[in-house]
Subunit: 445 residues, 4 copies
Amino acid sequence: MNKKMDFSIPSLGVAKISSPIIMSSTQNDGQADYVDDSDHILYGIDTDIDKDGHPVPRHEETVELAGPRSKIYFNPAHVHAAIATCGGICPGLNNVIRAVVRCFWYRYGVRRISGIRFGYQGLLENSPWPLMPLDPDVVDDIQEKGGTILGSARGGGKQVEEIVDSLERLNINILVTVGGDGTLRGAWEIYEEVKKRGLKISIIGIPKTIDNDLSFIQSSFGVDTAVQMAVPVVRSAHVEAKNSVHGIGLVKVMGRESGFIAAQTALAQSDVNFCLIPENPFDLDGPNGLLEHLRRRVLDRGHAVILVSEGAGQDLVPETGEKDASGNVKYHDIGVFLKEKIIEYFKKEGIETNVKYIDPSYIIRSASADSYDSIYCARLGAHAVHAAMAGKTQALIGLLHNRFIHLPISLAVSSRNHVDLEGSLWRDVLENTRQPLSMKNFNFD
Amino acid sequence: MNKKMDFSIPSLGVAKISSPIIMSSTQNDGQADYVDDSDHILYGIDTDIDKDGHPVPRHEETVELAGPRSKIYFNPAHVHAAIATCGGICPGLNNVIRAVVRCFWYRYGVRRISGIRFGYQGLLENSPWPLMPLDPDVVDDIQEKGGTILGSARGGGKQVEEIVDSLERLNINILVTVGGDGTLRGAWEIYEEVKKRGLKISIIGIPKTIDNDLSFIQSSFGVDTAVQMAVPVVRSAHVEAKNSVHGIGLVKVMGRESGFIAAQTALAQSDVNFCLIPENPFDLDGPNGLLEHLRRRVLDRGHAVILVSEGAGQDLVPETGEKDASGNVKYHDIGVFLKEKIIEYFKKEGIETNVKYIDPSYIIRSASADSYDSIYCARLGAHAVHAAMAGKTQALIGLLHNRFIHLPISLAVSSRNHVDLEGSLWRDVLENTRQPLSMKNFNFD
Amino acid sequence: MNKKMDFSIPSLGVAKISSPIIMSSTQNDGQADYVDDSDHILYGIDTDIDKDGHPVPRHEETVELAGPRSKIYFNPAHVHAAIATCGGICPGLNNVIRAVVRCFWYRYGVRRISGIRFGYQGLLENSPWPLMPLDPDVVDDIQEKGGTILGSARGGGKQVEEIVDSLERLNINILVTVGGDGTLRGAWEIYEEVKKRGLKISIIGIPKTIDNDLSFIQSSFGVDTAVQMAVPVVRSAHVEAKNSVHGIGLVKVMGRESGFIAAQTALAQSDVNFCLIPENPFDLDGPNGLLEHLRRRVLDRGHAVILVSEGAGQDLVPETGEKDASGNVKYHDIGVFLKEKIIEYFKKEGIETNVKYIDPSYIIRSASADSYDSIYCARLGAHAVHAAMAGKTQALIGLLHNRFIHLPISLAVSSRNHVDLEGSLWRDVLENTRQPLSMKNFNFD
Amino acid sequence: MNKKMDFSIPSLGVAKISSPIIMSSTQNDGQADYVDDSDHILYGIDTDIDKDGHPVPRHEETVELAGPRSKIYFNPAHVHAAIATCGGICPGLNNVIRAVVRCFWYRYGVRRISGIRFGYQGLLENSPWPLMPLDPDVVDDIQEKGGTILGSARGGGKQVEEIVDSLERLNINILVTVGGDGTLRGAWEIYEEVKKRGLKISIIGIPKTIDNDLSFIQSSFGVDTAVQMAVPVVRSAHVEAKNSVHGIGLVKVMGRESGFIAAQTALAQSDVNFCLIPENPFDLDGPNGLLEHLRRRVLDRGHAVILVSEGAGQDLVPETGEKDASGNVKYHDIGVFLKEKIIEYFKKEGIETNVKYIDPSYIIRSASADSYDSIYCARLGAHAVHAAMAGKTQALIGLLHNRFIHLPISLAVSSRNHVDLEGSLWRDVLENTRQPLSMKNFNFD
């Protein structure tokens, strides 16, 4: 992180058109203000103090604030905006769609807004799915349902030329794409292709990753809802565990590379005894392995609850070597694997046990957004529209220090966000679960 | 059903002691009344009409009403009451325990009330678990949690002599046992052994079967909560199905021999297209088989939702030949089986599909009781205590025509309760799902 | 109740048309059966036993079962069906509308179905609201929202001639009306006017009363949801009460003449100390009055929770003399009254107290139906359509002994349903709250 | 804000004792690290750019990070820690208590932890309430209930000397106080008195304000839960409004001086048409007043929903001149006032209307914390303990830029936090409700 990062946002051209949104350009007049391209915030907030007592921030980078500009690039009458939702479903997708449509329609007067069906697939040459016309009536109340009215699909990101052909043919000049790492890489390639062809198409990204593994985004939409949904499931596992002889409740939650949902869920209630995340490798066997700790807990307290991220312990399970349509490595199911290992181990030890395994993934990700995510998505959507109308491109709408910002998509996909094992979140998880700091056996020879 | 059934309830002896509960013995004085042993209701309500226009009920049997008697058999000071919860967990168990304890304590002044741990296991000779003393403080607020504070376990019903030895040794003279078919058969054998030994121990059953498969009980506690919990899961499956190309949501719910939870869940909302229950066999293949109907639905509407009872289609899956600790036949997982068959079929047909399988069983059965079941359990528990104190034995507390009744346990376990394919419940399910009346292929040669 | 009641249902004429619904007329062939006009159940189930041991039912009356008939009266192609929802809103109204529309459309092939806006008001001569055309698309998913898509209103029942004029002018030959006591009296008058004019218009009622105060109906739709919604509110009141010095939580629920919601809510959880219902008068002052009992409870335990039906204690509050648009007497707000009296009393006694009053009525009645009521409403709606198509009129769809039946509307509105102070429900409430049997002061001179 | 603020935190003395918490002091070793007093973050993140392109932050202040120190001030064996919860109840109080107790007990080995009953009242000379001994068993599962197990009360802050006398007498050397503006002013005075007497008592504050009106704290605990609870109430109001002729749903939520709950609730869903907050004055009458806008909305769309903060429109209602026990000005009920004004206005205009007013305040504030607030409270509590053990005093635990920090209590209570009418939150509310930017009539003469 020490080499300076480039946070600058490309532009399609000079924004010369007065925004139809009426706001104030002077502060302290009690009226909402436009945001200026020069309005920046510091990227890093950690600081040293110099000899005169002045702070010397450890990072120099600043980030552009998102929000409505006084001048816009696109004439609303000429805009054909399109929106796509890609990858797995996640609470809040419909809220984002709704906010994007409403902001285009009501604030900027844009009347051609189209939904692309099933991720980028609706833009492929042979797609059976026509564009879905969107307006405030179509999106009214859609946020009360989980999922996305557009449908979603992984993949399709490979056919960049085909997609840009479609954008040209359909006269789409704004593309808002909602997706995770793979989708955003696709968006970046689309941006590069658009640039190569000299087209004036704005490519705006809204980050969607229920695993919360995108860097530069303090928290992804859907994560709060996911934790709200996971908590009662852990409670169920606890009831099951307590109600049978040596009961063990085992719950798997989303988190391929980052254990945020598991960590937050373990903090949000008090029933988890072992929280296993991808960032923190563990051994199964040996004197400091999970099974030995589990044995002691079960004999001591009669029951135990384990919460595991889907990406935890991947060194323990045999490889599949497969990838899904978005290019993500396919993991063996750590939940099923753990369940079998635990049963086998306790049988070998001659200890009666009852293992109850719950995989609530579909229930969690199909939920409608809670109020936290509803607010977040409403605001992400509006800020995406403001960025697009201002002629920004290759811009991802992010949240940093609780402020909405513009991030270059290329930068956002350059690194992953992980639970910091030395940070305060994991520290507080350890205090709540009271699990061992490490369940690795160390070799001292 | 035509041969006359015997609904008479055995008694430990003449009830001579005045009840400490103060009630009225005269009607219409505005005060709650005792129930008399002669208060009966008709078992059957279907009727023919004779030539004079008078009704001729098709059943002659009458059933004894439950409730507090003016005279009781046991001196409360001499009572040692015990309660056991057996079999799988089910919403409402803690409510029942709480009601039993409170009614013994507050209404009859009984001060020795014990909980038996893990089903009948706590009564076995080598049980590591001592009796758990119960009083209103211990059971305060326990109903807010799912499961049972006593723990539960299957089996143990075989060691009848050992159990009765323990009852004698522990001076238990009232045993309230909460469980399903297997447990109640055990209770009946305990009653027979008690009778053989000439002991004055009242054996009272409270029926617990989340599958609702006990005859003579209009609906079991926990079923209403189970349906409340299943509905949002089906909604999740529907969201998942609609959000992917040719998405198929598949949900498995409890119901080994009877499909009540599936049928009621299919009626309670509008997303289920195929409701599969044990009572209604179906074919997978062939022109009228499930897969062909599913193919048409998916191609026609883009998605489908299937709700399957765990006991449906057992003729289709290979036998395991195993039984669980309660003696129930172990079924193959019809959900996993269907998921694989569907994927295989659509692959063979060359149709893209996305199958999302959800098994919410542990989440459903570990829930705390909703208000409907809370009320029901509070009342079941109180009526069990009234029956026991009056010296009834071999009595199951039932609900018939919305009245609390006493049923001989032996009669209750003599037949199973099934969804009547000719009745109005299934008729209304068919209207709601609009699935074919039958998915069997008929052979006309 | 001793004089024999007439349960016979008028008919518009002989049903000669074969039903488009394909069912079986033979039992035990595994296929759903038609219901025959001769299928009856016993009204009363209480019984005496004659000297030969045979039951002698205390009631002679039998009731006609609801359900699809093999022959129908109306040609579906000639039907114009209309539905109105009247009175205050109640959980389940949209479910009923949806079920009625779907059954007409899918089962009988009826294509002209209209919604009447705002109760009977949409049928008045000068109504600004045209009929709302209904079909399965319009009613898709409406059950997920509370209230009624038609709107609802009290009153309008007086203009019977005007309403029947409209029915004639609009060629409506089936009117399904969903409402309570006042609405059903209106329906009855409409039926009489229709009969007087010799019109062939079927008038079918679906009983709606969140107070559950209609006789002959074992429980009204919406009541179960109301209790589910009331329980957490009482829990809130309990938290508020416990968290302040001498805290008193006071909750008012619906129930003008009957205290079912209050009684069931008090049974469904364990926080209510005083449950006040219209059927059980109480004194405020005096040694056995509410305030004295409250004082003792608060000093003894530090807090108290009171649950009061809106119609309780009406002899205590000054009369208003007003009626609402449906003709219901307007009561003073007993909740506000009690709150003031309690504050005044404790101030006079010099005891610090904190009274927190919650009126959740609008939150409760606007809820969407829980699964219990969803199922109930789906089935009520279907049975109403079956009754109408068969040419029944003046028929109310009821539920008796868990069977769907036809009741003459005139009979249904002839008496009110009340909590029986001598029955088992109130007995169990008293055991749960442990409140005094009576809080009246008796005069012994 | 331009004059430099002092963020320095007083200390009781040099922390010399090694912490019993085992952590790492080196970064990047994969183990959780201690926090050092020199670890600071920037207070302000807005920045200008100098001529060389370097950022020039607009604020110079830095803030101390919270977290476990390697050296602590108090010997855990000598600690008597006490905790008090003051003011109105708020979701999350029990979570905070639980976290404080567990961190003292498990992490530091402190064994004397006491709860003070009913705010500061339990420390008054004549308090009838003894200290409540706290340990992990007592606080197990308390977070599942709303409110606070200690009880809460306003006031008591005036008797500073009496309180410090009690602290001395009870040998309390750590006081954790959870409360809002008034409570924290009291804590500050206690700190001053403690300092004057030369006592070594650490005074640590945890900010509690459901109105979110404390400066320097990005969001208060309980606010997220409050919004989650308010959303379905607004939905109820919307159902009520839509279901009656010219229906108007009116909901009042907490927010005496700041309208955060109202603003966020209005953003979290789509039913609010008018969001009224204290920061944004409005007129009732006149061409640009609320009533005229309401009239147009109701005639145009048939219904309307108004969401009002309790502190909105205080210039419109007559003054009461009273204060509550904490010294907060008592406002007239703006909800009741608006209801009456609206009814009166529409009656005068001759327009039928139905106003449904809901005040869910007690239901909201007595809720148990959602997962967001559970996590937040767990972490606030732990950080408070770390601060106290390190010998910090007059320190408030805050959250700034998503980092836990120490704030001087005196600074925190020096200004209020308000919804910024020129900021992005209010901008997004206006876009969601589509209400007028201002409902004031301007005078142009």
